[in-house]
Symmetry: C3
Subunit: 317 residues, 3 copies
């Protein structure tokens, strides 16, 4: 494996899931693999889980880690080609990516959707440019449209907790007053489409996800109906894709509660975190044994470690 930007970069999804489970059992078994290798982690946006779990995973593999909070620590980066750079951005990604690629063996990048211009966000320009100019493998630490390290951790978690060969997995929209990206929801659908699950997505009218991410998922606008018999309920808010970046609905009736969870087949509740308690989901659900949110977060370390290991192995070929 070279890059890890989208599932198209992954030759074998199941191998990565297994890799995560293996890393969890024996975190330091590959500590020689990353010796004298450096990963640079570039954050254009806030991060807690991704920041810590990726550092930890890299250190488990014996790598050195350099963290760069781009806007605080360094120069604003111009992503567009051919422009006259007389604005706020002092450096072009052509130089920045190539330079970072001189010092780092792998580069992780986090750059959220700006939610102003759908075509711009969905073109994933930042990742296109880093892939093109860095000259080293790029790891997606959450892009405008995807969060694959989260999705891999979610796959690992479902593998660990499923009690049926083909569980029913329901992705449900949850209310929130702010406009959030579609990245986690997109990515979750994209990865679930590659697993042996029954995938149902439920959301209010106007919150359809992009078809290329939704794949073969069934869509229902009746949340209660969608939850029936669910083994896993994956909660997430996202802003509208069709009315791009808008908050069309902020209806507390969509909040996840114990009453709703009772409709499931002893279903587990999942969320990528951070989660606003009693806005998206009640304390009762999060504080119950149904909630797998900490297990998911813990699996972020093993997801990152499986990905970095595959990339390091790819370098030896």
């Amino acid at each position: 494996m070279n890059h890890f930007i989208s599932p198209q970069d992954v030759p074998d999804l199941n191998q990565l899931i297994t890799g995560g489970i293996v890393a969890k059992r024996n975190p330091f078994a590959d500590k020689q693999l990353g010796e004298n290798k450096t990963i640079g982690l570039l954050f254009f946006n806030s991060s807690l889980r991704t920041r810590l779990s990726t550092q930890k995973a890299a250190q488990n593999l014996g790598m050195n880690v350099i963290v760069l909070n781009v806007s605080q620590d360094s120069w604003g980066l111009e992503m567009e080609e051919g422009v006259v750079m007389n604005g706020a951005n002092a450096e072009h990604v052509k130089e920045a990516a190539a330079v970072i690629g001189q010092y780092c063996d792998i580069i992780g990048v986090r750059s959220f959707a700006k939610l102003q211009d759908r075509d711009a966000d969905y073109s994933e320009l930042v990742f296109q440019q880093f892939r093109k100019y860095a000259g080293v493998p790029i790891v997606n630490l959450e892009s405008a449209t995807r969060h694959p390290l989260q999705s891999l951790a979610d796959c690992i978690t479902i593998e660990e907790f499923k009690v049926k060969a083909r569980p029913k997995v329901v992705l449900t929209w949850l209310p929130h007053f702010k406009a959030l990206p579609q990245a986690v929801a997109n990515s979750f659908c994209e990865w679930m489409n590659g697993m042996d699950v029954e995938l149902v997505v439920t959301h209010p009218e106007g919150y359809d996800l992009a078809p290329e991410f939704l794949g073969k998922a069934e869509v229902l606008h009746d949340q209660n109906k969608a939850l029936e018999g669910a083994d896993f309920v994956y909660g997430k808010n996202w802003s509208s894709y069709t009315s791009y970046g808008q908050v069309l609905v902020n209806d507390p009736a969509w909040m996840m509660t114990e009453e709703k969870m009772a409709r499931t087949d002893n279903g587990k509740f999942m969320h990528c975190l951070p989660v606003r308690r009693n806005v998206k989901v009640t304390d009762a659900v999060l504080d119950s044994p149904r909630a797998l949110v900490i297990e998911q977060a813990a699996n972020r370390e093993w997801a990152a470690q499986a990905v970095l290991k595959e990339i390091l192995l790819g370098m030896q070929e």
Copy 2:
């Protein structure tokens, strides 16, 4: 030892002091102890000495270090339970602490007093919550009411420089135009109460420290009288505890000077730093051989190393 939040967590104060002196003599003797262990350092506030000395101590013990400047790097954290999270804080400490505890073997936290609400500050909610939810040992890098790593470094420094079996130690309030927390003063009294010293505290009217921290110390409002025969003069400004968070006095007559130090028994001057020169204490005092402020700061490394070593040993049991 499990946590290091307050002296109540410390089974044996003298063992820690000795541990610091031992670490100073041979900093790398325990480099195997922290192998494959990670400490996460969470800063809600600025830090120089604590940030550097704790990183250094952890690295001396062979640990990996991950630093998180919470407000810059990550999400605002909600500390109160049961609230509807529709405000500025995007993540609850219940999740954040538990998640960080998945990646880190030890968590250090710095969170200053806000000086708005005494009950809130003195409840030490941030540390209560991290202790409750992180699932791993918590180290106090300065809380609303205490700075125990500083106090331990101060104890080590007094042990090193004392020339009498039972020295006279004077904690004197110094003037400052800004409202500062009581944490260092509280903690210093609390730790001095556990050592064999004669403790005198001197401050203007209205600056009484909380009785539970003051302990058996003698209080004098006459600074000159307090200084007579002192072996150690520990200077610090703090805002009022009784008129909570207020600056009642900013009288330069309380500034420490060579003339005042002349009243001591060849006394040493101590301060936790940062110190505003010629506001709290004159250049002449700080630039004289009396000043132990750099020695104190240097001992922060050994204090942190002694604490981390005890916690790491506790994990092996």
Copy 3:
């Protein structure tokens, strides 16, 4: 070698250039040298290349690295002596430098010119103070008037790419709407004066560099004439030294283009980065094989490694 603040600290420039080339061939050969040594990197300003390349170089040598973004992470530092510290700066460099020197074996400092007061900037007070009070070697990560790690990387790059025994090197001013420091231009001249090159500096009237940096360089105000027969064209913008910190000219006619480069003797284009494309230099030049900007940036790692190695060797004596 003890400090690396200016070329006056360097016993043998050629040895450092050779050291950089040797490090590039075998980056991990001296990994034992920095064992149990810590470098602290203090940034008062933004940094990409310096931040990453110095971390990387230190890790190649087996050192631990602690990064401090002074204004974000810590306290404002007072640099002047004898002042009453009742302003914004909470800590004096006397304490800060001495304290950091307790924890770090080497300290790197970046502190740009403020461009308000020429005497203040050119006195290099920040570096004077760190040199005086830290008690450990200081490395210049770009000061008000110099950027010697950049210059050393530039020397290495010229050594690698020169095709004549005594190449013609032209430093040309480039247009920019913002006022930038003279540090890179100063330092480049200062280091070129120590190498066997023909050095020509070209800039509009009013942009003369300080004579002590310019040295034996020839100065021309006709850019086209200066470029004739050049082997290396080093582009850089700087604000006026004589009308201190002012932007006197922002004439796009000074931008570097392919047409101008055609006047050289198959000359290479160099720039320290970041560079504003199509403001200082066209895309066509930067995207051509003439451009050595990535090679220069890559050599920053080896320049830093050569410097740190010499300092570490100096500690063993």
